[in-house]
Symmetry: C2
């Protein structure tokens, strides 16, 4: 077969896989939103079936022969095809190198561990979860040995799973800057005399009104509802079936409309990225955000950089007050802005504010790092966790349920995942700085011209989907890599001003 025919067959095979992925997204969205509890077992079976079908397509003889046929020509491929080859080959290698019985055993382990973790968190019983966590760490270490191609640290392989090209060296440098800047900044906030009144924005807003607010917020930032849908789930998320069907979800709390308001802006950031991947790569494996970190940079950009800015509230307050109950009529733009930026130490990551969020992540990163580079006793984790919390956030969790046991991630083996949440915020500040070289960002936000801002992000980031690696993508924008300085400057500037810190 000649190269052209091989490429066509390769692309057709990927398109077939994409059909399965899209179908699985529909089913999983349905699961998360409206599927009845009584069919949980049936759905698990169906999901398992389709996961296996997709795995067979990704790793079977057909894929193997296509990759082998392309390998000698990989330098001759056009940019998009080369990117597809790279992504698929990487996934193929990871999938086929680990023996199937190891994968199965790991799946069983994490499935059991997840149940145990849920119970352990409820019972505040870390000891119950500890042996599973120990086994998961051992299993992940063992699996790295199957895929290892160099003598990089084991943890690097895990980090790369969630953010291509990320390394411990990169994160060490990153978190060093974060630690050096945010810990003292938080101290300054805590010592500040400035008082912010969050109660002002916590007046009751009925759910039907909040649904209208969601639609208002989504439309405001340019989320295309003709190619989207806003659903409701306990944990908000964004799911892509194709660039023309990118859905988000939120949850409503009658006494805290800002919570769902910001979750909508956050998910809209993810959704805008997915809706704006290029038409030229639609339906291909490239038609999705390039990495978790870059994806998170987009959600944080709309949620925080835009949505928690002063200019945003100067623009949005009047429109919002047309929907909000009468009780809100006296709340000013400044009051909304300040309430939206109330900062301080807290115990739970998912409730953390913009300022302290990365400290929560840093604790987790440092512990994961220890798990993969040091010989520590798992039973020491609660003490280590609490000590770090004391050191960085100035508070100590009253129990493990609100401390080391709070997140689901380790129970499914997701070590390496957490840091992407933090660099998302850092990238968003970095992109803001680049953007400001080309446009008057504050003025655009103040007049609600989010389209111009989005156009910049589309041009630099969204439309490229996964054509480039995340590192290459960032480098193409301004000739540098992840740089925490922008993030640190951004936080210093914002919170020093807000909290009147010298």
């Amino acid at each position: 077969m000649n190269l052209e025919a091989t490429i066509m067959e390769f692309k057709a095979h990927l398109e077939k896989m994409k059909m399965y992925q899209s179908a699985m997204s529909v089913m999983s969205f349905d699961d998360a939103t409206i599927a009845p509890k009584g069919a949980t077992a049936d759905r698990a079976k169906r999901n398992g079936f389709f996961a296996a079908e997709l795995f067979a397509l990704s790793t079977g003889e057909k894929m193997k022969s296509l990759l082998e046929a392309l390998e000698p020509h990989k330098e001759e491929l056009d940019v998009n095809t080369a990117a597809m080859y790279r992504l698929v080959k990487k996934n193929y290698d990871k999938s086929v190198k680990i023996p199937i019985d190891k994968i199965r055993a790991f799946r069983e382990l994490t499935s059991k561990a997840n149940d145990v973790w849920e119970k352990a968190r409820k019972d505040n019983d870390f000891a119950a979860f500890a042996p599973y966590l120990r086994d998961i760490v051992a299993a992940r270490k063992e699996m790295v040995e199957f895929v290892r191609t160099d003598d990089a640290p084991t943890y690097d392989y895990l980090l790369d799973d969630y953010e291509e090209g990320a390394t411990m060296a990169m994160y060490d440098e990153y978190f060093a800057k974060v630690r050096a800047a945010i810990v003292p900044l938080l101290k300054g906030v805590m010592e500040s005399k400035k008082k912010i009144n969050y109660e002002l924005v916590k007046m009751s807003v009925d759910i039907e009104t909040q649904r209208k607010i969601s639609e208002y917020a989504a439309k405001m930032v340019g989320y295309d509802l003709n190619r989207g849908y806003i659903g409701e789930t306990a944990h908000p998320f964004c799911s892509t079936f194709s660039r023309n069907d990118v859905r988000i979800t939120t949850r409503y709390d009658e006494n805290d409309f800002l919570s769902s308001f910001y979750s909508i802006l956050h998910e809209c950031g993810h959704a805008l990225y997915e809706q704006n991947t290029g038409e030229d790569i639609a339906g291909t494996v490239l038609a999705r955000g390039v990495s978790m970190g870059i994806h998170e940079s987009q959600s944080r950009f709309y949620e925080n950089v835009i949505g928690r800015s002063k200019g945003f509230w100067e623009y949005a307050t009047n429109g919002l007050k047309e929907i909000l109950p009468q009780s809100y009529k006296d709340v000013t733009a400044t009051e909304f802005y300040e309430a939206a930026n109330l900062a301080g130490p807290s115990l739970i990551r998912v409730e953390a504010d913009e300022l302290t969020y990365s400290l929560h992540i840093m604790v987790r990163y440092e512990i994961e790092r220890m798990l993969f580079t040091e010989d520590i006793d798992i039973m020491e984790l609660p003490a280590i966790w609490n000590k770090k919390f004391e050191e960085y956030l100035g508070i100590t969790p009253p129990n493990d349920a609100m401390g080391v046991l709070q997140d689901i991630h380790w129970s499914f083996g997701g070590m390496g995942y957490f840091p992407t949440y933090s660099i998302g915020s850092a990238y968003s500040a970095q992109f803001l700085s680049y953007m400001k070289r080309e446009m008057d960002f504050d003025a655009l936000v103040k007049k609600g011209d989010f389209a111009t801002i989005t156009a910049w992000l589309v041009d630099k980031i969204h439309r490229h989907g996964s054509i480039h690696t995340p590192k290459d993508l960032v480098h193409k924008i301004a000739g540098e890599q992840l740089n925490a300085d922008y993030y640190v400057d951004y936080l210093n500037e914002k919170f020093k001003s807000l909290y009147e810190i010298q």
Copy 2:
């Protein structure tokens, strides 16, 4: 391979097909309820892909060899396996005997015809649709020749497509009885002095309240919401993903809550059938209602036989009034009962009442019969339609949009489909009569003991799924076949009493 191994492989292959069908049901439910318009083309592509995958599984080499291996042993199979073999073989033969290019051409023809029909109905322009209808009739005739196994009339093959074993002879006899009884009964209703006040139940009921009514009605008749879900669509339907996930939809009209109330009872009838197929056949090709006619008998049973009975309103009125707005507080059970049974000639099938519904179907059946047995000019159809309407219902459609062009069915080639709607009602009356031999039906309804009634239907019908042919199933219950006498007696008794006809 020995027989046992072949059977296991056969069942595994069918289970695989069932996974695809279930996934396609999820996607199509999503399409019908919340999927965004902007992704219509993407979804069409995805649906086409999975339809092709499923077609390949149903007709490919694997299926062929399994059926060939089983064929010599078909008399040795246990009841369930024999039923699976029969159903699958029948579908296989129909699918493989018609050349694929004929199937493709037919699909293109009906796709185009559907667009043309939609426009023709809007423009009241039968002449625009006529050539397509002519081609569709010709194509269906041609396709029957590929699958023909005997010298039965062509139309019999079409009727069998929608109701296994149904024939023109059977329907001729059936409709003769219907015509002889209902046409004079309707005349009696029209001449009756009895006045029913529908306006009484047409007071405004907001949608949120109607949603509560839907849930109340669904729970009342035993629809298991833990294994179900009530969605909203312009055209109500019931969709089965597995016996543990059977969903229904409805639509709400603020000024006619009874419309959605009865659509819920109707869809619950379908859903109860699907939720109660036997656990022993769960996940197999047998786990679904046996035919359209029997399925419709269940929906009509809950909608009409139960839901439009006097006893039902004696039971349900108080509960319903607890949810209904204050304005309903003086409406009596008798007034609800009478409003729910307002009867009279109407033009549109989907709005027809219980009494006249089968007359609407009869017009369509007689015309389809002509199309396949006589050499009639398609352009005469509007005149034929109108003449029959005049004869049976005493009214003449003012235009073709409200006459011969009103239904979508012919545009997709669905000739043979309509009569199943009518025999559904007839079967429901037949089952009622059998049931009354064993229990005091009226007393059970009056005290809201629907569980006992459903238990009878589960035992005689639901749990068997598609194990037996529809004819065998009915025969097993009381030793006879479809018999319009029960239906005719039921309607006579009910409407003569209600309209005070001697």
